[in-house]
């Protein structure tokens, strides 16, 4: 953590730019949805305020994901392409853990705080008083959502061990992840196959939001937990399988 913070602050101008970018990203993404929903009262079964809360939670959950995970996924393709995975494999630390959690993007904290404050404000507008169990459940499902997202990203990116030039896979995954910005009901417009592909991602924000709104759909909860288990296990198994096929760039 200290090393990451030191690296971030080594170049002060860059640090200030990163902070401004994080704040800007947080503010503009929330404001965009406010603008887009100005003239509607509901869409696909979600009221305007619920959609705003949905986006606020998207900022919190995805912000945390970007802070800890996606910053490492961008590095992932580089370390495999340049053979740096060799050094990681020789360290007395689990390789998947090391590859996944080495870097921390502290500038995301601001985005998370902005989104969290905004979500609390929307909950106040909705007049929702959260119970302790609701908060706990929302946190549990948010953690499940992280595991699903992380596992999906890791499963896809592990293929770079065989195809080291697929560095833009990360950018493709960002686009898929952005589909989670919209409620599951909107994604149902996609054809059956495409909807199945994005279904895990649509549950990532859907389920924790519905918990806070007291509108939990049991099937979504079960699906999310099943996805957590299945994708989490698959990511681990696939990573260990892929390591057997890893050939360093230097050997």
């Amino acid at each position: 953590m200290r090393l990451n913070l030191a690296a971030l602050m080594a170049y002060r101008t860059n640090f200030i730019n990163s902070v401004l970018a994080s704040i800007g990203w947080g503010l503009f993404s929330l404001y965009s949805v406010i603008i887009l929903t100005t003239r509607i009262t509901s869409a696909y079964g979600w009221t305007r305020e619920e959609l705003l809360l949905f986006n606020g939670l998207y900022g919190v959950i995805i912000g945390a994901f970007h802070m800890f995970i996606s910053v490492n996924m961008g590095r992932f393709s580089r370390i495999i392409h340049f053979g740096d995975l060799d050094g990681i494999l020789t360290k007395p630390i689990d390789s998947q853990f090391s590859v996944s959690l080495w870097l921390v993007d502290f500038t995301m904290i601001l985005r998370i705080l902005i989104a969290a404050g905004y979500s609390v404000w929307i909950l106040t507008i909705l007049g929702i008083a959260l119970s302790f169990s609701q908060i706990v459940m929302a946190v549990v499902f948010a953690l499940s959502a992280w595991v699903v997202l992380y596992s999906l990203w890791f499963l896809v990116l592990t293929n770079i061990i065989w195809h080291t030039n697929l560095s833009n896979l990360v950018r493709l995954l960002y686009v898929f992840e952005s589909m989670g910005r919209f409620p599951k009901e909107m994604s149902k417009q996609l054809t059956g196959f495409l909807f199945l592909v994005v279904l895990p991602i649509t549950l990532v924000i859907n389920t924790p939001t519905r918990v806070l709104l007291n509108k939990v759909v049991v099937s979504d909860v079960v699906l999310l937990l099943v996805f957590t288990l299945v994708f989490g296990s698959a990511a681990r198994i696939y990573w260990l399988y892929a390591l057997r096929h890893y050939s360093s760039a230097s050997s």
Binding site: N14, A21, F182
Partner: protein, 264 residues
Amino acid sequence: MKKYLLIIQATWAEYMAYRLSFILWRVRMVIQLLAIYFLWRAIFSGDQTLFGYTQAGLLTYIVLTSFVRPIVMSTRSLDLGGMINDGSLSNFLIRPFSVFRFFMTRDVADKLLNLVFAIGEIALIVFLLQPPIFLQLDGATLLLSTVALGVGVVLFFLASMIISALGFWTPDVWALRFLSFILTEFFAGLLFPLDILPQRLFEISQFLPFAYFIYFPLKIYTGGLTLAAIMQGLAIGTVWIVGLGALYLHLWRRGLAVYTAEGK
């Protein structure tokens, strides 16, 4: 002229070297368009007009952003910052063409490639989704929107070169580029036409260069601007081109004076 054609060929060859990577890039473009398209379909459901736009008008705008965006915003000028920092700029300084023209040529190659695929992708989406697209048939409007598109292309290229040129003074221009990316996403009209913003914010956006990347050419195309507004917009865009061009020249000359090719 021949050397620039060779640069274009080499740029295309670079893209085609890793075909799977190239295909993934195009898939990403289509998915991005689909996501915004379905978002607007959801917002419009049940309404004939919103924010002063009909569904056809706004969906036309959204679909055409996927045509205009690659033409204006695809660029290879991002590479300049890295070249400055790793010292490989030295190789280009001794070559028989200017670095500015080199990147301009690379951009032409990039935009041509994007244009070909964007046309195919939009045709596919129109065929599959059959959105209510508005076709502009007035020649004068088409000509003016093309001129505005040219202004947007030059503006974006200059802005990107300026950010890359900051590599002479900072080892990492990524944060600044990301900040400009966020401002562009919001103020260029990629997600929505800028005139749906609150009036004050919209007026401010008209004096920023971002509005001339995407929003301005598309607004002309959809017939939403008077001739006076178009002329005003073109004038503002031209002023920005002159200003950014002068700034780039200044940064480039100052940068070369401090350039030490540290990476080599």
